[in-house]
């Protein structure tokens, strides 16, 4: 079977995929969030606190983390109703930074020293299971009424409203659902690393999550899956270049934005893949 090292790479890649999907969901409704690390922190701390201090069973702790992420997502969604584009990026960025500093100054959660002693309950099956559930969810979502409302809102808000899309409701739903996914990701992360501190969920985390999704392409949720998988495994493959790792990583991002700003999986490529899939299905 797989070595422990390989399993750990897979688990972290899975968590990165979950986080990238949590960014993708509001982004598919045109709401860019630069604060997914904040939701992740909420889920991680909530579930860790329940496991350590209340001996909550793991699925319950995980669900609670997701719930808190979702509720706070709803709250953060409100300013989103008034703001767009750049300003929304800034307010969500500020939100992420606030969550980090709040945990930093909360003694009940260990403050800057971090929160330790979390039981090692996250296994590869939980991570893989959640990724599969999310893939199924997103595949269904894109063909559902809500998924179409998301796309309509992203493409043209005024037109979407004219077609009867309730933009308030849809935006809030998108933010809350993104918060739930990020909260779940945070819970899985906490029960795998067994130690969390606020710095793990800072600006760097939020921006990297955004990077994964954009690198893969925002045309489909598969972009987030592929982008996160590639970019989170890549540092492992680049281990041999040592000090050059960060430089190459930065160059890769710049190059990608120059050559393919729409991300790896753009609509043309997606259409080609699905056409091939249909031909194969027709033959077989």
């Amino acid at each position: 079977m797989l070595s422990d090292h390989a399993v750990s790479i897979l688990i972290f890649a899975g968590i990165d995929i979950i986080m990238a999907l949590s960014f993708f969901l509001p982004a598919s409704a045109g709401q860019l969030s630069a604060g997914q690390g904040g939701f992740m922190a909420l889920g991680a701390y909530t579930s860790a606190y329940l496991s350590v201090h209340h001996q909550a069973p793991f699925p319950l702790a995980l669900a609670a983390g997701g719930l808190v992420g979702g509720l706070v997502g709803l709250v953060v969604g409100f300013p989103a109703l008034r703001l767009r584009g750049l300003y929304l990026v800034l307010v969500t960025f500020g939100f992420g930074e606030m969550v980090r500093v709040l945990f930093l100054s909360a003694p009940a959660f260990g403050g800057p020293a971090g929160f330790a002693g979390i039981p090692p309950t996250t296994t590869i099956w939980y991570v893989l299971g959640l990724v599969l559930v999310l893939v199924y969810f997103f595949a269904r979502l894109s063909r559902s009424r809500m998924g179409r409302a998301f796309a309509a809102l992203r493409d043209d808000e005024a037109a979407a409203e004219a077609m009867g899309v309730n933009s308030t409701y849809v935006k809030l739903a998108a933010f809350a659902a993104g918060g739930v996914i990020a909260g779940l990701g945070g819970g899985l992360y906490a029960h795998y690393t067994l130690f969390i501190d606020p710095e793990a969920f800072g600006v760097g985390r939020s921006l990297f999550v955004m990077l994964y999704a954009v690198f893969g392409g925002l045309a489909s949720f598969w972009g987030s899956v592929v982008g996160a998988a590639i970019l989170s495994v890549l540092p492992e493959l680049l281990r041999w270049v040592k000090d050059w790792r960060e430089i190459l990583y930065g160059l890769l991002v710049l190059l990608m934005m120059l050559v393919r700003p729409q991300g790896l999986l753009d609509p043309t490529l997606l259409a080609r893949i699905s056409a091939r899939g249909e031909r194969a299905a027709a033959r077989g």
Partner: protein
């Protein structure tokens, strides 16, 4: 009363350095609508280059500053020529990603290139704390603030009084109209980023003087966001007012609130103000009201 005066003065002095950083952010936003998420990395690279000039080349502080300015302008030119030129009128998200990618690249290369060199920059002369009208004032902060103030005055003259400044203001106002009257956008974007390079050297060095050095200059970038939102993203006077306001706010909360609720609140206070501003007056105190009311 004396404690209050001390905190306000201290906040004002730090605010002057914040203003330099925030101006480096706003000139880019005004010229090209780009948010520079790597503003902290620019500051870091600027101060590390000065340190490299001082410790590595042994050319002294003045020589180090010149070396770093030349180096950072070269970085800015390379960035605009190789990267930004191809990305003309790309989406907001793409431009954000580019600044993040550049930030990662800068961090990696700084660690590699300046490995083994100390990052701190020694103050040119050790200064005793002063007492002005019974209020103790940190002398190095006073000097840093004076230099920052001079830079702000020079910069505002550059924007108000020079031909290039006029062109930059025209671009900020309307890119298409600016192009139609014959302003070379790419050239002026390059000038803008060159300006960011020089400002990074100055602000990074001053910040190293005040904090004693080297480490954590990147975090200076995080201070920028509350400042520019409070002041208004596209307003120079607003940015300066916002920088002083956030400087004083941080100093006051650090003095009065942190001892009560535990450390760190002074940093979150500015983000609370950021979010409150976005609710009440999303375009900031002095910004243009471009956001549609809903």
């Amino acid at each position: 009363m004396e404690f209050l005066a001390f905190l306000v003065v201290d906040g004002l002095l730090v605010g002057a350095i914040y203003a330099l950083v925030a101006l480096a952010f706003v000139v880019v936003y005004k010229a090209s609508g780009m948010i520079n998420f790597a503003v902290g990395e620019w500051m870091m690279l600027g101060s590390r280059m000065v340190a490299a000039g001082v410790h590595g080349l042994g050319v002294g502080l003045g020589g180090g500053l010149v070396f770093a300015c030349v180096g950072m302008v070269a970085v800015a030119m390379a960035f605009t020529r190789v990267v930004l030129r191809q990305l003309f009128s790309q989406s907001l998200l793409t431009l954000i990603m580019v600044t993040i990618g550049l930030g990662i690249f800068m961090r990696g290369s700084a660690a590699l290139v300046f490995a083994g060199l100390p990052g701190g920059i020694a103050r040119p002369l050790p200064l005793e704390p002063l007492t002005v009208l019974g209020v103790p004032v940190s002398a190095e902060k006073l000097v840093a603030a004076a230099i920052a103030g001079a830079c702000i005055v020079a910069l505002s003259w550059f924007f108000r009084g020079s031909r290039t400044g006029l062109a930059l203001r025209a671009i900020a106002n309307d890119q298409q109209v600016a192009m139609s009257v014959g302003i070379d956008l790419h050239r002026h974007f390059a000038i803008t980023w060159g300006l960011v390079g020089v400002l990074s050297v100055l602000a990074g060095t001053l910040w190293s003087f005040v904090t004693g050095g080297g480490f954590g200059v990147e975090l200076l970038g995080l201070k920028v966001f509350p400042i520019v939102i409070v002041g208004g993203l596209d307003s120079f006077p607003g940015t300066i007012v916002g920088a002083f306001a956030i400087g004083i706010l941080e100093s006051l909360t650090a003095g009065y609130v942190d001892p009560v609720v535990g450390g760190g609140f002074s940093h979150v206070a500015s983000y609370v103000v950021l979010i409150a501003t976005l609710f009440v007056r999303p375009y900031g105190l002095f910004g243009r009201t471009e956001i549609e009311p809903r």
